[in-house]
């Protein structure tokens, strides 16, 4: 350790002693306000702890609310869609989807001729019998 270090050490010791002395001389008004501030902070940590313990409950409650809102939105959207596009009766859908009749009309016209003949024959038999 050189002389400069020793000097710095002496300087530090003296500065530290002076600063320490200044701490002991803080007046009563300041001490009182510091005490009040400390009590407020201590009360805050108690309040903070309560908030921490309520955290899971708040999380669960908010989750339930979010789920309820989601269900309500889905139901509402479903009803709105029904109103905008009223559902067709099932028979109509089947009729529209059925292509068998058209196939018969286009490709098998003789069937209708035969069927018409059968109907006339039945009528003739009925009137003659």
């Amino acid at each position: 350790m050189n002389a400069n270090d020793t000097q710095a050490s002496d300087f530090e010791q003296r500065a530290s002693a002076l600063l320490g002395e200044s701490v002991t001389r803080v007046n009563g008004r300041v001490r009182s306000r510091l005490n009040q501030a400390r009590q407020a902070a201590v009360a805050e940590i108690a309040a903070g702890r309560q908030r921490t313990w309520r955290g899971p409950l708040l999380l669960q409650a908010s989750g339930l609310v979010a789920a309820a809102v989601l269900v309500a939105l889905l139901v509402s959207a479903h009803y709105r869609a029904e109103r905008a596009f009223p559902s067709a009766p099932l028979d109509d859908i089947e009729m529209l989807a059925d292509t068998e009749g058209l196939d018969l009309l286009e490709n098998d016209g003789s069937f209708y001729e035969w069927a018409a003949g059968q109907a006339e024959a039945l009528n003739t038999d009925g009137t003659s019998g």
């Binding site: 530290s16 320490g20 701490v23 501030a37 400390r38 702890r49 899971p56």
Partner: protein, 209 residues
């Protein structure tokens, strides 16, 4: 010894409630008492540090109070060993914020000389100005004068040098703790502290001979 032997204590730990994983095992009452004890141990030094930087009692009290509340709110659940550097870091941030607000206010007030004269600075507190009832021996006067000169010189240091010097000399933090409080490396702390010492010694050396 198998690897499972080292895991055994983990299985014997108490079950942790979901959402409370960060809570220490102490009760709220214990934490409150610990915080009270900690703040009582640092509040006077914190006030002196703030007072040296801000030079006004009320401003110093405000920043110390803010730092206390912020520590309790944000870091009250942290281990007690972390409180001191955290507290002094918060305190320094508050001091810096107030100094910046003062600079802005002073710039604005410089454009409003009439308003400044009308409102003026707050009058000095008569209680503060009143002489103490205690006897004032010459040695005490000399001590107070030496304190005043030292604090004035420290207050004129650059912010980081002042912070390093006060945390080490007044609060007694070591280099690592000071680095944590200042949010910098230990090497930076040493540099700031050394420069602060040089400046103060140059200013006060003759007076202290």
């Amino acid at each position: 010894m198998s690897a499972f032997a080292t895991l055994a204590p983990v299985y014997s730990m108490p079950a942790v409630t979901p959402g409370d994983v960060d809570l220490p095992q102490s009760t709220p009452h214990d934490r409150a008492r610990a915080l009270n004890r900690f703040l009582a141990s640092v509040e006077l030094k914190a006030f002196r540090i703030a007072k040296i930087a801000l030079r006004q009692d009320d401003d110093a009290l405000d920043v110390v109070q803010d730092a206390m509340l912020q520590l309790a709110r944000a870091y009250g659940e942290r281990p007690e060993a972390e409180w001191k550097p955290l507290f002094y870091r918060i305190l320094e941030n508050r001091i810096r914020d107030l100094q910046r607000r003062r600079q802005v206010r002073n710039r604005v007030m410089a454009w409003l000389p009439l308003r400044r004269n009308a409102e003026g600075e707050e009058p000095p507190d008569p209680v503060e100005q009143a002489a103490s009832a205690d006897p004032q021996p010459s040695t005490r006067l000399e001590l107070e004068e030496a304190m005043s000169v030292l604090e004035k010189a420290i207050g004129e240091l650059p912010q980081r040098q002042r912070q390093a010097f006060l945390l080490r000399t007044l609060e007694g933090l070591d280099v690592a703790e000071t680095a944590a409080a200042m949010g910098c490396s230990e090497g930076s702390v040493k540099t700031h502290y050394f420069r602060a010492l040089q400046t103060l010694r140059a200013q006060l050396g003759d007076l202290w001979e």
